[in-house]
Every structure is written in structure tokens, then in C-alpha cells.
């Protein structure tokens, strides 16, 4: 019953989406607003139907409806309430529903916002959105149907992947998917611009805020993913260059490049072609990411199991890229640049270099991700590309990018004079060098750490100098301090939002550097009452207890942490799920601004007299999360509607 109903709704939604895409396209071509209006109704219908599918599946989860195969494989009678809701999108089929639902939502917002404001571009953008939505609905009907019968009806289900039993599982996928799907809107407008030949600034202005919105969510998704990895996976890291992390990181890099190059087009009418290609590339990479996670082509912790879905995604990726780039070739003449670069020492060239570096980073990540495949295809040799490759190539790129972050926003457009350079960069350079010297004197010997510290201080000072100067200018005309700062942020929100994002990146860079350069770890096997030491901390093994939870069995160790005085009792655990082949580590930690104490329970004696424990003191990691919060706040500030006149 549930299955028939849900599947039926999916089918109707598919038909409606196809109709809507066609109606919008024909309406745009023939100039018949009635058809476009009809497409809008279709889009609304699609959204309502997907919402109903989503609700129905959630209901099936909450009521343990094991006649639905997806429910039976992803939950069992012991799954707690909360995880029965997040379990809805915990695996392939449900994730596609969530994805489609978000696409539908974005389509509705696009209709509401742009129905009247962009008459020429809007119908084509709508047609593109609905066309893409139709593809995902097609996946939901033929390749990965969430509504599929389980015969015979299972008495109990298999259960959710235990790693997904975490509060981060509501926010991480939701934010990530809002980011991924969000890039569909800029792509839709890019397609509209290419089809209509209006490749000027209109589509760009419409797209800019959308891109920041998608970028905001993608950043949030990546950060929460890092946090999840840090506190759930128990290896003490937050980023492993796993193919799927890479898949989410690549569109982030190209979108970041776009957010910068868009400013050159606004100011100097340059880079039209480049911008449109960046938008296409970003969307293509989001599709590539979904393909990677769902095709089983590359081994990854995130890989969903699959069937025909990989081929379907690849076909769609081919269709999208060939069509989009074909349109670019078709509109080649219109996309040519009008402005020219005046000087190498200018904001344009700083931004261009920023773009080159970001694309280089995206390319190396892409190359490293598909290299195992390439190697097997060409040489027949299986290899895996690990963190050393990615770090070695990307660290210099990112350091240069951070340096540019200091230069780009302050250097003059067109041609920077010596006066301009001195005015803006004298103090930052001095302080940066001083910071490097201070670090060296204080005993920091890692060249990379010194360099990062210097660059960070340099960039931080440029931001500070600019902000102080702008505030002073306002104070001089008689404003009070608080309104002056508030007005500055509010009126130039894009500029200062960008600065705040940059500050966030600086903090993240500090955290990454600190955790790489100064973290320490050790492993110890302790008998009850014995202690181990690491970095000035003492860890005493107190006892081991066993707990039976609703859907798993848990062994918890208690360790007293002290550094002279008792700080805390940490309780790392191992969870045994009947459906999993190996136990799941449950990490316990004590977070701090300077360092985190991080404990992972290893092997233990069954009688509880002895336990092996992995001890880590991870330095400065908290700054990654703090930087993440700052970064997202900055992005929010930049999203606010601009108020030129106050």
C-alpha cells in the first residue's frame, strides 16, 4: 500500500517535471507566457508530490513499515526515534529523495524571486531546473526507488549504519545537499544566458547571491563533515582526502574561484567566458560527486552501494557537460572579453592568480581522485593516492592563496602605485615578518608553521588596517563607534562579509597548521589503576563496564585525566552492533582552545582488567571549528541584500 502510493506519486512527479521543463522551454521560445505559467504550476505540483513522498517515507520509518525494502534495510526495531528520522536519508534511495526535494524547493524560490525580474532568462532557467529535477525523479523511479516492496515482509530490519547514528547526521547531509543542489540555480541561469545569447551582466547579477547561498551551505556541510569525522571516526583527524570529501571540495574550490572572478567581470567587463565555464564546471563537479558516491567506481568510506545508478549518472553528466560546453562554443563570439589587463601589479591580476591557484587546486584534487582509475586503465596497476600527495601539492597552493587573500582586497584596480602599496601593505608586511621572527625565537622550527604564521598575521593585519581606516573615516564625520562599525558592515556587506570569511579561513589555517605540526599521540596498554603519560597529561585506567543499549552492546572504559590536578574522567567506548562486522569506536575527548585531549578505546581483556588505549593531544584543532563559525557568519553577512543608500 505504502509502496504503491509512494511509487505512484514519484511517477506522477516525473511526468509533471518533464512536462514543466518542456512547457517552459516552448513557452520561452514561442514567447507564450501562458505556457511558462503552466510550467510554474507543474513545478509547484512536483514539489508537493516530492514533499508527500518524503513524508510518506518518514512515516514508514517511524512506524517500522518493513514492507518497504528501504525501511527494512536501514532501520530495525531497536533504532531510536531520532535516527529513524535521519535514517530516511541515510542511504542511497532516501538521499536522492532529499536531493530532489531540495531541488524542488530551489525551483520554487527561483519562481518566486525571478518570475517578474528576469523575463528573458527566467523561463529557460526554469526549464533547466525542471529538466534536472526530472532526471533525479527518473533515478527515483528506475534506478534507486525508495518505494520498493520487501517480499516477504521482514519481521525486523537490518538497521542503520551505526556510524550514521550521530547528531551531525541531520545537519551534515542537509547542509551539504543544500550546497550541492544550490549550484543548480547558477547553472540554470548560465544555461539561460547561453541559450538566449544574453551573456552580459544580468545572469551574473542574478547568480551571484545564489552562488554565495550555495557556497555557504557547502562550506557548512564540509565543516560539519570534518567535525563528524573528528568526533565519530576516532582516528583523530578531520580530513583524509577521501574521494568523497574531495568530491565535495572540488565544487567548493571552483565556486570560490567564481565568487572572486565575478568581481572582475562586474568591474572590468573581463572574463565573461571564464565565469560561465566556472559555473558549468561547479555544477558538473557536483554531479561528478554524486556519481562518485553512488556508482561504486572508487572505493571510499562514504560509498553507497549501487546498481544501474552509476551508468545513469554518468550518462546525465555526459549530457550536461556536452550540452553546456557545446552552448559555450556556439556563443563563443559573444563571450569574448571587452577589457584588458593593464598591469601585473593590480587587483585584477591578484584575482586572476587567485583563480589560477584555485583551479590548480581543484585539478590536483580531481587528478588524485581519479588517478587510481587512470592507473588501472592505462597500466593495469592498482594504486591508491593518499594524503601525502594531496598535502604536498595543495599546501603551497593554499599558502599562496592565503597570501593573496591579504593582497587582493586592498591593492588598487588597474594599476597599483607604489604609494598605494606602501599605504596598504607596509604594516602588514612588518608585522608578518615580526611574527615569523617571534615564532622562531619561541622555538618553532617547522618552516611550514613559521610561514603559515607569518602569512596569517600579514593577512589578518591587512584586514584590520582596512577596517580601522574605514571606521575612522566614519568617526571623522561624526558617527559614534558602534553605529559606524554597524553601518560599515551593513552598507558594504559584500566586502566586509568577504573579509570576515577571510578571517575564518585564517583561523582554519592556524588550526590545520597547529594540528599537523604539534599534535602528539601514543598508545598504551594499561592494567586497572595504571597510568600513562603524554604531553604533561596523566591518564589512569579506572575500570571497564558493559552496557546493553536498545540496538547495540557497549563496552565503556573510564580514564581519569589529570595534569597535576584531576581534570576530567573520559569514557571512550566500543559499540558492538549485531549487523556490523567490526565494533564501532566511540571517542571521548576534552576540547580546549589550546589543545584537545582525545581518547580512543582499543582492545581490552574480557574481564575488564586491562585495556589498550590510543591517546592523542591534538593542538589548536578547536580553531578550525571556530574559524568555521566565523566563515559561515561572514558568508551570511555577504548574503544580506545590499543597501547602497542608508
Amino acid at each position: 500500500m505504502t509502496v504503491d502510493f509512494g511509487y505512484g506519486m514519484t511517477l506522477v512527479a516525473l511526468v509533471l517535471a518533464i512536462y514543466g521543463a518542456a512547457a517552459a522551454a516552448v513557452g520561452a521560445r514561442a514567447g507564450r507566457p501562458a505556457l511558462v505559467e503552466s510550467a510554474q504550476h507543474a513545478a509547484l505540483g512536483v514539489f508537493v508530490l516530492i514533499t508527500a513522498c518524503f513524508a510518506l517515507l518518514t512515516y514508514a520509518f517511524l512506524t517500522f513499515d518493513f514492507s518497504v525494502r528501504y525501511v527494512a534495510t536501514n532501520t530495525n526495531l531497536g533504532t531510536p526515534f531520532y535516527y529513524r528520522i535521519t535514517g530516511v536519508w541515510g542511504a542511497l534511495e532516501g538521499s536522492i529523495i532529499l536531493w530532489s526535494w531540495m531541488l524542488g524547493l530551489y525551483t520554487l524560490i527561483l519562481i518566486l524571486r525571478h518570475r517578474d525580474s528576469a523575463r528573458e532568462l527566467y523561463p529557460w532557467a526554469l526549464a533547466t531546473m525542471l529538466g534536472i529535477l526530472a532526471f533525479f525523479l527518473l533515478v527515483m523511479t528506475i534506478a534507486a526507488p525508495p518505494f520498493q516492496r520487501q517480499v516477504p515482509v521482514a519481521a525486523d530490519g537490518r538497521g542503520l549504519n551505526p556510524l550514521l547514528e550521530d547528531t551531525g547526521m541531520i545537519t551534515h547531509p542537509v547542509a551539504l545537499y543544500l550546497g550541492f543542489t544550490g549550484f543548480t540555480v547558477p547553472f540554470a541561469f548560465a544555461m539561460a544566458a547561453l541559450i538566449t545569447g544574453r551573456v552580459g551582466d544580468t545572469w551574473l547579477v542574478l547568480t551571484r547571491r545564489w552562488t554565495i547561498v550555495a557556497w555557504y551551505f557547502l562550506s557548512l556541510g564540509l565543516l560539519i563533515g570534518g567535525w563528524w569525522s573528528y568526533h565519530v571516526l576516532g582516528w583523530g583527524g578531520y580530513w583524509a582526502w577521501d574521494p568523497v570529501e574531495n568530491a565535495a571540495f572540488m565544487p567548493w574550490l571552483t565556486a570560490t574561484a567564481f565568487l572572486h572572478s565575478v568581481m572582475i567581470q562586474e568591474r572590468r567587463r573581463m572574463l565573461k567566458l571564464w565565469n560561465i565555464v566556472l559555473v558549468i564546471l561547479t555544477f558538473g563537479l557536483t554531479l561528478f560527486g554524486t556519481f562518485l558516491t553512488r556508482s561504486g567506481v572508487i572505493a571510499s568510506v562514504h560509498a553507497f552501494t549501487q546498481g544501474s545508478i552509476g551508468a545513469l549518472f554518468l550518462g546525465f553528466l555526459a549530457l550536461v557537460m556536452l550540452t553546456a560546453l557545446g552552448l559555450v562554443a556556439w556563443r563563443w563570439e559573444a563571450l569574448r572579453s571587452q577589457g584588458e589587463l593593464d598591469s601585473v601589479v593590480s587587483r585584477e591580476s591578484a584575482f586572476l592568480l587567485n583563480n589560477v591557484l584555485l583551479i590548480a587546486a581543484a585539478f590536483t584534487v580531481f587528478f588524485g581522485t581519479v588517478f587510481p582509475l587512470l592507473s588501472e586503465a592505462v597500466r593495469g596497476v592498482k594504486v591508491s593516492v593518499g594524503a601525502p600527495f594531496f598535502n604536498q601539492v595543495n599546501v603551497p597552493l593554499f599558502l599562496s592563496l592565503i597570501f593573496l587573500m591579504g593582497v587582493g582586497p586592498l591593492i588598487a584596480w588597474r594599476r597599483a602605485s607604489l604609494e598605494n602599496l606602501k599605504r596598504n601593505f607596509l604594516w602588514p608586511v612588518v608585522l608578518g615578518v615580526a611574527a615569523a621572527a617571534a615564532a622562531f625565537v619561541l622555538g618553532v622550527r617547522s618552516a611550514l608553521a613559521v610561514l603559515t604564521l607569518a602569512t596569517t598575521v600579514f593577512v589578518g593585519t591587512t584586514i584590520g588596517v582596512d577596517f580601522v581606516r574605514a571606521t575612522r573615516a566614519r568617526l571623522r564625520v561624526g558617527e559614534a563607534l558602534i553605529p559606524a562599525v554597524g553601518g560599515l558592515l551593513r552598507r558594504h556587506n559584500r566586502r566586509y562579509g568577504g573579509f570576515v570569511v577571510h578571517l575564518g579561513i585564517l583561523l582554519i589555517a592556524l588550526g590545520v597548521t597547529g594540528s599537523h605540526a604539534w599534535s602528539v599521540q601514543t598508545e598504551a596498554t594499561l592494567r586497572r589503576g595504571e597510568t600513562a603519560e603524554l604531553a604533561g597529561y596523566r591518564f589512569r585506567f579506572d575500570d571497564l563496564t558493559a552496557v546493553e543499549e536498545s540496538n547495540h552492546f557497549k563496552v565503556v572504559g573510564a580514564f581519569t585525566v589529570s595534569n597535576g590536578r584531576v581534570l576530567d574522567v573520559l569514557r571512550p567506548a566500543k559499540k558492538f552492533y549485531p549487523q556490523e562486522q567490526s565494533p564501532i569506536a566511540y571517542v571521548d575527548y576534552r576540547l580546549g582552545l589550546k589543545e584537545d585531549v582525545y581518547l580512543v578505546l582499543g582492545d581490552f581483556a574480557r574481564d575488564g582488567t586491562q585495556a589498550t588505549i590510543k591517546l592523542q593531544v591534538n593542538r589548536l584543532v578547536s580553531w578550525i571549528w571556530i574559524g568555521g563559525v566565523v566563515l559561515t557568519l561572514g558568508a551570511l553577512l555577504a548574503i544580506l541584500p545590499e543597501r547602497r543608500t542608508a
Binding site: G296, V297, A299, L325, V328, V370, L373, L374, A377, P578
Partner: protein
């Protein structure tokens, strides 16, 4: 000329797409085992019936060593009848099938053996030592051992009749141990 070359832009994505398509033909988890050609690590286990089970006892025979678990749906459930059928067919020709159940609960595993009426020796690897020795990555994995006791083939995923016969027939055709 100027008109033509720009059409190369869209075509530039074709090699990438071709590479990804190639990806369907390979299984990233199918990692070649470094144990191929090496002597199979010895072990001593106790079967579910309580009799001792070791490789040494089957020296001189072709051994099909299968790692499975009752929670391994559906692959282990697909291959269990295949293994039983071929065991019955080949047992008189110097072939032995050995099942090793890993990371499992005893009741669930015994139910599995009962359900499929498995008659070849099956034992539980309680400490996980055997699966570590053989570098078992997931279940099911099956090792084909020749009569000298060397690992010759590692098969990942469910064993089919064709896989079983091809490997066993080839190993049987080789000259036996001195």
C-alpha cells in the same frame, strides 16, 4: 579554422567520461592478495560439532577455504548452496571445502549452517586471528589452495558454480604433491 577549433571544448570532456565509464568494469575492492603463491597460513580451529579443524589434516588435497558470516546478506546466502553442492560433487576427488565463520554470534552462525544443511567442515574464528592471517577484507572471500598447500587464487564476493569448477578443476589437473 577559428570556427572549428572551439567545438573541441565540449569534446575535451570525453576522455574524462570514458575513464569514468571504464570504472564500471573494475571493482575497487578487488585488491590483489600478496599471499598468492605463498604457503597458506596454518590454523587450528574447532568446528561447530566440536571436532578439531586444521589445514594440516587436509594436506595433499585441493582446499577451498571460504570466509563467511551469517550477517553477510546476500552474498554469503547466495554462495552457501553452491559450496555445499560442489563439495558433495567433488569430495571424493581429493577436494575439501572449509568454511570459516568470522565476527559472528554463535547462535546466528549455527542457524546459518543448519538452514543450508552445510555438511563440509565449518568453524568459528573466535579471535579473528585466521582472518587477519589471510588478510580478509570483507565477506565472503574464498581462497583456493593447491595440493602443496599454497594459496593460488583469491576470490572476492559470492562463489558461483563456474568459479568453483574452473579453479578446482585447474588445481586438480596439476600434478599432486611428491
Amino acid at each position: 579554422m577559428r570556427r572549428l577549433w572551439r567545438w573541441l571544448i565540449p569534446l575535451a570532456v570525453l576522455p574524462v567520461l570514458a575513464l569514468l565509464a571504464y570504472g564500471f568494469r573494475v571493482d575497487p575492492r578487488d585488491i590483489p592478495s600478496p599471499l598468492i603463491g605463498r604457503p597458506a597460513p596454518a590454523f587450528g580451529l574447532t568446528t561447530f560439532e566440536g571436532t578439531p579443524l586444521s589445514l594440516a589434516a587436509h594436506r595433499g588435497k585441493v582446499v577451498v577455504l571460504n570466509f563467511w558470516a551469517s550477517w553477510c546478506q546476500p552474498a554469503c546466502y547466495e554462495e552457501a548452496p553452491v559450496l555445499e553442492r560442489n563439495w558433495r560433487e567433488y569430495r571424493d576427488r581429493g577436494v575439501v571445502v572449509v568454511g570459516v565463520d568470522i565476527q559472528d554470534r554463535r547462535e546466528a552462525a549455527e542457524k546459518f549452517v543448519r538452514e543450508f544443511g552445510l555438511t563440509f567442515p565449518n568453524a568459528q574464528d573466535l579471535t579473528g586471528a585466521v582472518s587477519v592471517d589471510y588478510g580478509v577484507y570483507g565477506v565472503p572471500e574464498t581462497f583456493f589452495l593447491d595440493r602443496q598447500g599454497r594459496i593460488r587464487v583469491k576470490h572476492v564476493g559470492a562463489v558461483t558454480d563456474a568459479v568453483f569448477r574452473a579453479n578446482v578443476d585447474r588445481l586438480l589437473a596439476e600434478p599432486g604433491s611428491p
